[in-house]
Amino acid sequence: MPEGDISRRGFFIAVTGIVGGMIGVVLGVPAIAYLLDPAFKPAAKEAWVPIGKLADIQVGKPYPFSFTRVQVNGWERTSTSHGGYVVRKSENPNDLIVFNSRCTHLGCTVNWRQDAQAFICPCHDAKFSEDGVVLGGPPPRPLDRYADFRLTNDGTLEIYYKES
């Protein structure tokens, strides 16, 4: 057999190896992508959420709002409800505070009471002022705020929601 020639047997061994390697790559690469797929999916844990028209919110009267976030994990959807109050301090569109209505004590939802001029928690009688400051009861800190908010061109107030 001249130099460089390949025997029939050697040819079949080589072809088997090459075809086998190709099958391995064609199946192996998608399999790895398939297994690692969840790690490359963006997590929708933050977003701008519209909560109302600024024109509907009166100055000095806390405006309640609520929204629902849907978390999708594979084929499972979990929805969570959130709520809060917008307090406008003046006619200036940016002079406002957006509170989360979750009580900082144990997580019940606080309500604005016009007669008491305070946010009252129904669970343990916690009291917060219009600025969210603790006036009485067990809460360890003032009401939480949605610090990032913006006005869209058509006058809708949006807050930046970030899952904690």
Binding site: L27, P30, A31, A33, Y34, L35, D37, F40, G74, W75
Partner: protein, 219 residues
């Protein structure tokens, strides 16, 4: 260095001897019909690999089975490919195993001293059908639900012990979560374990006896 490692391993595990006996063994002159056994083995391994990675996302529960497969098909990278290979590979495996069996029958390769290889092969064929039957239910769609309803009813039509067989297959009188769970267990644990074991025996016997000659006019 690789040569040294190979030599070390060979000295202890007998790799060269293994290669010679398993992959480089002498064979009578054959045709493409002789490749069907290897094709069946290849398909078994392919089904095993794709099946194992399908189990990463699949959930065997009536609440989630259909949705999880829907997610594999539409939500996971290459999920459609992995499931597609498993789905079509299953059909192909039944076909290839059956043609393999036909070939052995037609060329009379089941005769002495290969009767045991043939008997084990019958077991392998039935287990392959069992894999097809149990796997068919797992998507938990209308087609698979009613196919299994009818299939288990047929098994239940056996005189005297039919009701016992039906309840054993379904895990109760009706098709339920129990049916799905036991079909899943059979599909990924019991039947593959039995298949792998019998394949080992089948291969050992083939290597021991060598492949048979095709019969000639004189035979």
């Amino acid at each position: 260095m690789w040569k040294k490692i190979y030599e070390w391993l060979d000295e202890r595990a007998g790799l060269k001897e293994l290669y010679k006996n398993v992959l480089d063994r002498p064979e009578p002159k054959g045709t493409w019909w002789n490749t069907l056994g290897s094709a069946s083995l290849f398909l078994f391994i392919l089904q095993g690999v794709t099946g194992i990675i399908l189990a990463v996302y699949y959930t065997p529960s009536p609440d989630h089975a259909y949705d999880s497969i829907n997610y594999i098909m539409n939500g996971v990278a290459f999920g459609w490919l992995i499931r597609g290979i498993h789905h079509w590979g299953a059909t192909l495996m039944v076909v290839v195993v059956f043609i393999h069996m036909l070939r052995v029958f037609v060329t009379a390769s089941y005769k002495y001293p290969r009767e045991l290889t043939w008997l084990v092969g019958i077991g392998l064929f039935l287990l392959t059908l069992g894999m097809g039957f149990t796997g068919y239910l797992l998507p938990w769609n209308q087609q698979s639900y009613w196919a299994t309803t009818v299939g288990t009813q047929i098994a239940g039509s056996v005189p005297f012990i039919g009701d016992f067989i039906l309840k054993t297959l379904r895990g109760g009188p009706d098709l339920s979560a129990l049916t799905l769970q036991r079909f899943f267990a059979a599909h990924i644990w019991m039947l593959p374990a039995a298949l792998a074991g019998l394949i080992g025996v089948h291969l050992y016997l083939i290597i021991k006896h060598g492949e048979s000659h095709f019969p000639t006019k004189d035979d």
